[in-house]
């Protein structure tokens, strides 16, 4: 505290400029691939020329005209939405039990539920492949739904669990003493009190599925073409500039989800700012 209040007036010196330069170059390195893709997607030639010779929306138009791409897009959206919903429905009660419960094996249960986050995806993919082939699920949308939910569940449990742990437990007791049964106290008091975490968890669960490639390639078939998988397949045959348009759309969806998370976080920060007298 005392350091920041006693900070010297800003001064331009060699060290500081070097730092800015380094930071700038790092940013450029991080953003360059994204920038290139977005630029090329608005280009009017069939070649990947950069910078664009003429602006146009022809590749977006081409995408829209292609039934295969449209179907892949809808499938991805549906799948990610269902995965987000399912992982919230399972993950929120699980997170609550893990955060508030006192029972034997709680640590073990938590470790198991979070393990898909730490196990290498390729190992998970292999395991699921063997399991699902036994069950005859390979190539079905169900297999992807199950696999993606498995991957998204730890995300929900970690985010929502942290919020439950931070939540003042006496709020729930107060609700009970006001005449609310446990389910009503949970629904009317506990869940609304962690709403920002629910939004974040839902958004990250959605993105987990929406971006997923490895499990999708392993477990999918012709009936389970998601956007990332279709990109992968298209790249193998030809470098169609439509790919840059799809990629741009993927980027926009991801940014939209992150914005949602940020908005939820902001509303919480504002509430806390008001709490401080």
């Amino acid at each position: 505290m005392s350091l920041s209040s006693a900070a010297p007036p800003p001064r331009i010196n060699a060290g500081r400029s070097a730092l800015w330069l380094l930071a700038g170059l790092t940013m450029l390195f991080l953003l360059a691939p994204i920038a290139v893709i977005i630029f090329v997607s608005f280009n009017d030639t069939t070649l990947f020329s950069f910078p664009p010779s003429r602006w146009s929306l022809r590749w977006y138009h081409a995408l829209w005209e292609s039934r295969a791409w449209r179907e892949a897009g809808w499938f991805s959206l549906w799948l990610a939405s269902l995965v987000a919903l399912a992982s919230l429905l399972i993950g929120v009660p699980a997170a609550y039990g893990l955060a508030k419960g006192r029972f034997r094996g709680r640590r073990l249960a938590e470790a198991l539920l979070i393990s898909p986050m730490v196990v290498p995806v390729i190992v998970l993919a292999l395991g699921l492949y063997m399991l699902f082939s036994k069950l005859g699920l390979i190539g079905t949308p169900t297999s992807l739904f199950l696999a993606h939910t498995l991957l998204a569940l730890p995300v929900v449990i970690v985010i929502v669990g942290a919020a439950f742990r931070r939540l003042d437990g006496s709020i729930e007791l107060a609700a009970r003493s006001c005449g609310a049964s446990f389910p009503r106290a949970f629904w009317h008091i506990v869940l609304p009190a962690v709403r920002p975490a629910l939004i974040s968890a839902g958004a990250f669960a959605f993105l987990t599925s929406f971006d997923e490639v490895v499990l999708t390639l392993f477990l999918g078939g012709p009936r389970t073409t998601t956007l990332p998988k279709k990109i992968w397949e298209s790249v193998k045959f030809e470098l169609d500039p439509s790919l840059t348009a799809v990629s741009t759309i993927l980027i926009i969806v991801s940014i939209a989800a992150l914005l949602l998370v940020e908005l939820a976080r902001r509303s919480r920060i504002q509430r806390q700012a008001k709490e401080a007298p």
Partner: protein, 357 residues
Amino acid sequence: MGASLQINSLGKSYGPSQAVASVSLDIAAGEFVSLLGASGSGKTTTLMMIAGFTPPDAGEIVLDGQPITHLPPERRGIGVVFQNYALFPHMNVARNVGFPLKMRRVSAADTARRVTEALARVGLAGLGERLPAQLSGGQQQRVALARALVYEPGLLLMDEPLGALDRSLRETMKTEIRRLHRQLGITIVYVTHDQEEALTLSDRIALMDRGRIVQIGSATDLYERPVNAFVAGFIGESTMIGGKVVRDGEAGQALLPAAGGPPLPARPGALREGDTATFLLRPEKASLSAADAPGSGLRATVQDIVYVGEISRLTLRLDGGPELTIKQPNRADAYQARIGEAVKIDWAPDDAVLLAA
């Protein structure tokens, strides 16, 4: 109207440690009872068992004649106020206070009227639209009170409700709580570790130590007639001296200090001559006079004098015996001693107590 509450041999253990051991209480309708005790003495655990949040291992709880030991908290109809207020952060004040009515499916019109009434009762009229985060600590505590009282429970439980408030606000809230108790005739069980709070608010105080009630009684009972040295030491100031009980005059008793010195007259009690005992004298019960003044008394020397405004606190050493602390009012008609002076100290034997050691 208030509800009566009986607690019979309530017990609760966490692993090997007994948080509450065989606590029994019989509280009349409309009574204000405090559970007083040091940290970890089992006050909160007892309160949480009454509220229904902690299942007891043993014992029984009866509210207004109905056994409620195994009822879930939401079906007990008991109001609870928590130390940290526990307001619902996402609801405004009116919705917080209206929540118990919503759970009871009271109509919207009735709810609005009763919420307005409840807020007026705690002095928060017109603040219904605020969020809890926009209120001061004292205001939040009032909202918590209004929420606990809005459905007119017969019993109100409060766990250190003033613990998070600053000193002057605590005084104001104490007055408010007394007023509400008088106006509503509600039964209150109040947990605190602050003896002054307990003494000023309660009809009766249950002093707890290591999961047990050591003594229950009025403030006067605990102060004037403590059952043992623990109670005497916990409530108020006192001088305590160990020794043996001896006969004093016809029917009187006194304590012969183990460390030597004259016998100290005290109220005759259940102890017999020859028993080891602790002599207890409250500092304001003794009076001081010049060494050569007529009348009874024991000779002593003034060791130290500390001036604290309305009184001075004097440390005296009895001739050949132990030290005593007394309080002397700073008035012209009270004897004003000097350090090192030989004086005479006297007290009514009925004001000193002999406690089993």
